[in-house]
Amino acid sequence: MLYALCFLLFMIGLYCVVVKKNLVKIVIGLAIMEYAVNLFLIMLGYRVGGTAPIIGRGDIQAGVDHVAAHFVNNAVDPLPQALVLTSIVISLGSLALLISICIRIYDKYGTFDITEIRRLRG
């Protein structure tokens, strides 16, 4: 059910990219799509009633076997969290480049409207 909502967010972002005419709105639509995919990735690792995958000082004092058992039985999956960190950094770089190209296009063409930025045809 929650996965379907995530997918709905992705579709909203895709709708923005396809339909909107302002350059900046297209970039925002792209950002929404990337958020939706990151959200989906984190939700994959969730375990109902799970704890954060962090080992504290109290756990270590209780002994190594107890630590491992507690981690495997109770913690949510930490691998998707690492994947999402990487994905956030990548989309940061991509968005920075997109915005700087938008600013340059505004300098050259004088407008943000994509129906007027159409010198390349054929």
Partner: protein, 504 residues
């Protein structure tokens, strides 16, 4: 030799971060370093042919760490990527003098090479995505490098479509992880072989086809390519059209279809349909173009259709349980055409860059009679045009012949006929290019054009010589067995290959 695998990624990365510091001291030092790096990578790629192995990054065991894999398909793709990047870097020594900020260009170029090498050698699906993004973001910046009106517009279009493709691929990777619990390609293959393909994995496969199809510019998803490739500087067009759409799009797709998911009949038919559509639409849109580089860009779409057709045909024959010899032949045709196209298409883009630098225009109707002023460029362009049109004895002829034979043997006579027809129309459009650019009379404005100089000539002649020599790869049996056959075997063996390589 698999111990040298990280060097393919680390050496260009470190050089890319060294270049802005060196560049403030002098452009010559930066250019020299960049060229040394690409030539060293080419030597390393040639040395890796015929070896195979697995490299565990960080000494983590392979079920919890990232692995780098060297096998037949990887060494073929490494050769293709590094040959084209060495030639394009050599060409840009002279060509990029007309732009400012050359050290930044070299740094971005090396980042793109590092990303492409990483895509080809990795054995982990998320690592594939990370390197795909490194190469893509570097190429978005390079397409808009000149900062004129059209280049920025083309770069924006390319970026938006490329980012949509990356989001779709990441969603597919998330679905694969959710359904199998592993990200390593071999482990995923084993789990999929045991549990079969459920609805989630089928949806993930369709997301991968759309995402990698967008990166490879197959036909319903090709809208960015005719704008992006002409607007980029010529060596970047050569890299984009020559290796980026192949390493990021077609290599990744075939790796996932053959070695991770396993071939199935619906996926093969989709690939064949996309291939035929790309071939036909690409070539008919190309014939009517009057801009030199735009014409070449549309031809890229069409030739990509050939490669996908070959791979799809092989997948269909394997999935239907037919004769593995014909499947192997179809895949051989597809892969050999991929490598050939890398060489002759980048040569065509480099010659168009040379013509553009000399005459200042890309429109065919404003050129003419350049054969008197630019004889070497003319020779290189003629060799490349003959290769792409499929004239014997150049390399394009052999790969198209193998594809036609495979199609006929498998019983698809319609596909063979379409292949031959598209090849004839390609020949027609390149005769048009030859007539308008080189033959005819020299117009008034172009009376004092001169031939390109040193490094541009060396790069073009190197690739032209390769076009001739690569026919030997298929004709001489020992070379074929050493270079091409291992790549074909990797794909034909499919899922069992990944499981065997990882010792599962």
């Amino acid at each position: 030799m698999s111990r040298a695998l990280p060097a393919f990624v680390v050496v260009p990365l470190v050089a890319a971060f060294l270049l802005p510091v060196l560049g403030s001291k002098g452009k010559a030092a930066a250019t020299l370093l960049a060229n040394l790096v690409t030539i060293a990578l080419l030597a390393l790629a040639v040395a890796c042919v015929g070896h195979s192995g697995v490299y565990e990054v960080g000494t983590w065991p392979s079920h919890i760490g990232i692995v780098l894999v060297l096998d037949g398909l990887t060494s073929l793709m490494l050769l293709a990527v590094n040959v084209v990047s060495a030639a394009a870097m050599l060409f840009s020594v002279r060509y990029m003098e007309q732009y400012t900020a050359k050290p930044k260009y070299l740094s971005l170029f090396l980042l793109m090479v590092a990303g492409m090498n990483g895509v080809v050698i990795t054995g982990d699906i998320f690592n594939l995505f990370v390197f795909l993004e490194i190469a893509s973001i570097a190429s978005y910046a390079l397409v808009g490098f000149g900062c004129e009106h059209e280049e920025l517009e083309a770069s924006f279009k390319y970026m938006v479509l490329g980012s949509v493709a990356s989001s779709l691929i990441l969603l597919g990777i998330a679905l694969v992880y959710g359904n199998t619990g592993a990200l390593n390609m071999a482990y995923t293959a084993k789990v999929i072989q045991q549990t079969g393909i459920n609805a989630g994995l089928a949806f993930a496969m369709s997301l991968f086809i759309v995402g990698f199809g967008l990166k490879a510019a197959l036909v319903p998803f090709h809208a960015w390519l005719p704008d992006a490739h002409p607007s980029a500087p010529a060596p970047i067009s050569a890299m984009l059209s020559g290796v980026l759409i192949k390493a990021l799009g077609i290599y990744a797709l075939s790796r996932l279809v053959f070695n991770v998911f396993g071939v199935s009949i619906p996926v093969s038919w989709v690939l064949i349909a996309l291939g035929v559509l790309s071939m036909v639409v690409g070539v008919f849109l190309a014939v009517g173009q009057w801009d030199f580089k735009r014409l070449l860009a549309y031809h890229s779409i069409s030739q990509m259709g050939y490669v996908v057709l070959g791979i799809g045909l092989g997948a269909l024959i394997l999935a239907q349980g037919g004769n593995p010899l014909w499947a192997s032949l179809a895949i051989l045709g597809g892969l050999f055409h991929l490598v050939n196209h890398a060489v002759f298409k980048s040569l065509l883009f480099l010659t168009s860059g040379s013509v553009e630098m000399a005459t200042g225009t890309r429109q065919l109707k404003q050129m003419g009679g350049l054969v008197e002023r630019m004889p070497y460029t003319r020779t290189a362009c003629t060799i490349a045009s003959a290769s792409i049109a499929g004239v014997p004895p150049f390399n394009g002829f052999w790969s198209k012949l193998i594809l036609v034979i495979a199609a006929v043997q498998a019983g698809f006579f319609g596909l063979a006929a379409v292949t031959v027809l598209v090849s004839l129309v390609t020949l027609l459009s390149f005769l048009k290019v030859q007539r308008y650019v080189f033959l005819g009379e020299l117009p008034e404005e172009l009376q004092d054009t001169r031939e390109s100089k040193d490094s541009m000539l060396i790069a073009m002649l190197f690739l032209a010589a390769l076009c001739l020599l690569m026919s030997l790869l298929i004709l001489v049996p020992s070379l074929r067995v050493a270079v091409l056959q291992p790549a074909v075997d990797v794909l034909v063996e499919g899922v069992n290959h990944s499981i065997r390589v990882a010792n599962l």
